[in-house]
């Protein structure tokens, strides 16, 4: 059974996602960050779907469990597209769009083949343990992709502060989720801890993006190399 805190976290997540979308539409920035906005819309849809399933079938029902984990896996794949959009932004001046599109298709095809292979060899036990393991792997691919993206941001001295913060928030979300899924997989008896922290990590991403889109203007600049200096010096 979910407690009031879990419901509050859920509601806050949904509200933040709706806020990001409304703000993007009202500030005419929806198309500029199309993939990110589509991802946020999918997140909001997932929250609504999870809630409907929970309300109808209950927290302990297999329907809720499968809805939660499988929509989460689909969302992670959609997140790969969002990461590729950010790659496109970082490399846009180098005219590498063609290669990034190719890499996106290869990544999606690879993920589909991997998922198909895993499902084929586990058709007799598509249990929650299995979905936890799959989510852990999918999130970890996200960690690797985001880390490489961050390395590119660093190497190319990308200074757009919005982009820097979007990438860093994504890195926190992916690495936090991958760590929690791995923890849940390693210690199934302690999965309650992971279940408690996962929604908090899930809320962090819309919260951080909402903050970035609201408080950081498009023109703001920040050299990422400054973040790696021993201490951020102030005036």
């Amino acid at each position: 059974m979910l407690g009031p805190v879990a419901y509050a976290v859920w509601f806050v997540s949904f509200a933040l996602e709706v806020y990001i979308l409304v703000r993007a539409i009202s500030s005419k920035a929806f198309l500029r960050y199309l993939t990110l906005n589509l991802f946020v819309a999918a997140m909001a849809l997932k929250e609504a779907l999870d809630f409907t399933t929970l309300y109808r079938y209950g927290f302990a029902s297999p329907q809720y469990r499968y809805t939660f984990y499988y929509t989460d896996a689909l969302l992670t794949v959609l997140m790969y597209l969002a990461i590729m959009h950010l790659y496109h932004q970082v490399f846009r001046e180098m005219n590498l769009g063609k290669y990034i599109r190719g890499a996106t298709i290869a990544l999606l095809a690879g993920t589909a083949i991997f998922a198909w292979g895993v499902v084929q060899s586990n058709t007799d036990h598509l249990t929650s343990r299995f979905v936890v393991e799959m989510s852990q792997d999918l999130y970890f691919v996200g960690v690797v992709l985001t880390y490489l993206l961050w390395a590119a941001v660093f190497k190319l001295r990308e200074t757009r502060m919005r982009l820097v913060q979007l990438v860093l928030a994504l890195g926190i979300y992916f690495s936090g989720s991958a760590a929690l899924y791995a923890f849940g997989n390693m210690f199934p008896d302690l999965h309650a801890v992971a279940n408690l922290l996962l929604p908090i990590v899930g809320t962090f991403l819309p919260a951080a993006w909402a903050y970035t889109f609201t408080a950081v203007p498009e023109s703001a600049r920040l050299a990422p190399t400054r973040l790696a200096e021993e201490a951020v010096s102030h005036r």
């Binding site: 393991e133 852990q136 792997d137 999130y139 970890f140 960690v143 985001t146 880390y147 961050w150 502060m161 820097v164 913060q165 860093l168 928030a169 890195g171 926190i172 690495s175 936090g176 991958a178 760590a179 791995a182 923890f183 997989n185 390693m186 919260a207 951080a208 909402a210 903050y211 609201t214 408080a215 950081v216 703001a220 920040l222 990422p224 400054r226 973040l227 790696a228 021993e230 201490a231 951020v232 010096s233 102030h234 005036r235």
Partner: protein, 138 residues
């Protein structure tokens, strides 16, 4: 085996991203020059904010109404400051040269967090003043 590897790598990456993210929030505040008003209220001299003032500055921030844009940043920096404080408390007992360097780094980071809090307070005070002037003029 794979799960433990993913756990360790993910935690290491998480810490790195979290430190960079919080620093990106703090870095924006470092360009800000504190106003005389905020220095007077908080007793800050020059542009240097003491680590010990962090908690008090956040209390003042909570008392001062803002536009609501900064809540997320405050939470992240508060979490970063708490983590650094915990780390400092744990490392103080050890006295090797490497620990001393880490401690001085943590102290510098905590001072940056305090400066961030002072900047937020300054911005909120400016926001309140603007609201007040709009209220009196209309």
């Amino acid at each position: 085996m794979i799960a433990s590897l993913i756990l360790v790598v993910s935690i290491a990456v998480f810490v790195q991203f979290f430190v960079f993210y919080t620093r990106s929030l703090i870095a924006a505040s470092c360009k800000h020059n504190l106003s005389e008003g905020v220095c007077e209220i908080t007793g800050i001299t020059g542009q240097r904010v003491q680590t010990a003032q962090f908690a008090r500055l956040l209390q003042l921030v909570e008392l001062c109404p803002g536009s609501g844009n900064d809540e997320m940043g405050i939470r992240a920096v508060r979490a970063y400051f708490s983590t650094l404080s915990l780390m400092t408390a744990l490392l103080t007992r050890l006295s090797s040269a490497a620990m001393t360097k880490t401690l001085s780094w943590a102290e510098g980071e905590r001072a940056s967090c305090a400066y961030f809090a002072a900047t937020v307070l300054d911005q909120r005070m400016a926001y309140s003043r603007t609201l007040l002037s709009h209220g009196t003029s209309s």
